[in-house]
Symmetry: C2
Subunit: 379 residues, 2 copies
Amino acid sequence: MLAIGLMSGTSLDGVDAALVNIENERFELVKFVTLPYDESFKTRLSRNLNIETAKLNEISSLNFELGYQFVKAIDLLLQDSAYEYNDISFVASHGQTIWHDPKGTKCSSHVPSTLQIGEASIISYQTGIPTISNFRVMDVAAGGEGAPLVPFSEYVLFHSNTKNIVLQNIGGIGNLTYLKKNGTMKDVLSFDTGVGNVMIDYFVKKYFSKPYDKDGRIALQGNIIDEIILELMKDEFLQRKPPKSTGREQYSYVFMEELSQKLHFDAYDKKDIVTTITEFTARSIAYHYEHFLKDIDLVVVNGGGSHNRYLMKRLKEITHLEILTGEEFGINSDAKEAMAFAIMGYETINHRPSNVPSATGAKQDVILGNITLSPTKRK
Amino acid sequence: MLAIGLMSGTSLDGVDAALVNIENERFELVKFVTLPYDESFKTRLSRNLNIETAKLNEISSLNFELGYQFVKAIDLLLQDSAYEYNDISFVASHGQTIWHDPKGTKCSSHVPSTLQIGEASIISYQTGIPTISNFRVMDVAAGGEGAPLVPFSEYVLFHSNTKNIVLQNIGGIGNLTYLKKNGTMKDVLSFDTGVGNVMIDYFVKKYFSKPYDKDGRIALQGNIIDEIILELMKDEFLQRKPPKSTGREQYSYVFMEELSQKLHFDAYDKKDIVTTITEFTARSIAYHYEHFLKDIDLVVVNGGGSHNRYLMKRLKEITHLEILTGEEFGINSDAKEAMAFAIMGYETINHRPSNVPSATGAKQDVILGNITLSPTKRK
């Protein structure tokens, strides 16, 4: 059986698409592509993650537009492959989170909610492939944070009988999964570690007009500004006990502009700011290892942040742990999240739960997502 | 088999819930209730149908809050009945439309879209009943207007071998279904007839502080202002050829305030304004019979507007047709739409289409909605 997993993450880079072969309940990555968003689409998407600038008509339209983007990603994935739409048993799509308020603290109603867009009916109509989508909502309905969801697939793919493993992802937001040596699914811990690349990217774009700090080159040239680090480490999210989750919308443009004014970023060398923000990212990740985990044998870092040499170097220096990149460990780290949704989609069509309550805080394990059938008879 | 259909319509009155018995592909209404929204919820919902006042955090929250309202409606429906959650095979929920732009004219992207909220996972988690939802999106994905959807069930329930029947609904928005004598599903015509009660309700609330014009009492006391009628009949929607659809968001507070200023409503007697708006509603419905239908033997009027005696009287006088209320014809008109979704949900779980392309303009008939499974094993 072949399935496609689709993911559009907090970094808003584009659509990740993973073609996965499923045999005897084992999952193998066949092919992976990323369809980048063009700048104007990214700008519109980004505007609609923000409470001040989001517009109802844009949200409705972007839900459908993202559906078409996902179809383009599927086409790119199947192009030059041996397969066509009819060979694919199902698509499992995360969509794009545009709002995440699992504690209900961001609305006067105090009702927990989360909102993903990327219309499944567009995928299903255009390709004829049954589509599973909206994975996070059921976990929130069950009292969970609706995130992280990858721990399920991480346990399935990577748990070990000999090592306590931390799988650290550094995308826009950082998150980790702790797989206890010889543990079961119930022993899995997982939580967000706060900022990943989101702050680095913002200030690199602002000060150097680049989309991100390639290989950490800018950070490697600057110096740490101690008084700013001290202020940043007071971040409320750091202190909160896991399980916990956050989102890109927490680190909005408005938030970061206010922060930079409050801490007088303009008074410092711009390279030093990038170094300091990257240092803060490393320390906030390390803070979580020190305060909330014990017995770590190996840390495997995935996501865009694993290519930031300053970030990786500092993470090793601060923690004194064995730290590998996903590539070094043998994970296709770019494909990991998209593949995770294919695995969860497989559980859903088999009527099996795929949240990890110890990671999300849900009251129980539940079947995630909803199923949009192929709208017409498949060939 | 028992099913529950749920509907929250453009009039924002509350949740309609219909318990439907299904045997040998025949559908019988067992019980019907309406759970009214309280005023503060209605106000918040109403604010979030409007491009100027909708907020991302509220939309996300209201999606979940509506889910809980739907659960309350199910509880009210089953209370004092012989049935409990476990007896219900599925819930089919329309949700609440908060944006409808099937032509893509209301967004710079020009991508057709529609957006319903009322989170299915809340219904399914709280009750354990599999839930089918988001019926309109697939029809829009297939190039249709995503509305009207009731024609499918109207054909199933009411088509006749001896009469050409118009089923006219007058909710916030007016819409009709034309069932040709001896016709098939392909002969069904259906389209919106523009304003239903939405304008009447607005000005009755503004001038008389009442939620609606009960029995048309205010309209019966006033006089028609010809120069206003003339202006109103220039409405762009009237001229458009069917199939066509509109929505409450088209007749927003902003739109109606601008209209009342442009036509100097303040210069007239307030009763005359209500009479004139009601007259316009009757004439715009009659306009559609005259210009877009032929061979009508019977008109059956459902919805809140069927209780407006002025409206019904004028409709008869203008059209010279046999016009019955749903009650007179033997339809539980209040339950009709909620029941329609139970019927469409039944088609979906049986993997059968339930849109009517001749009514929505879709390129083909498609299976509607997505399925949220019971998240845990049912008892």
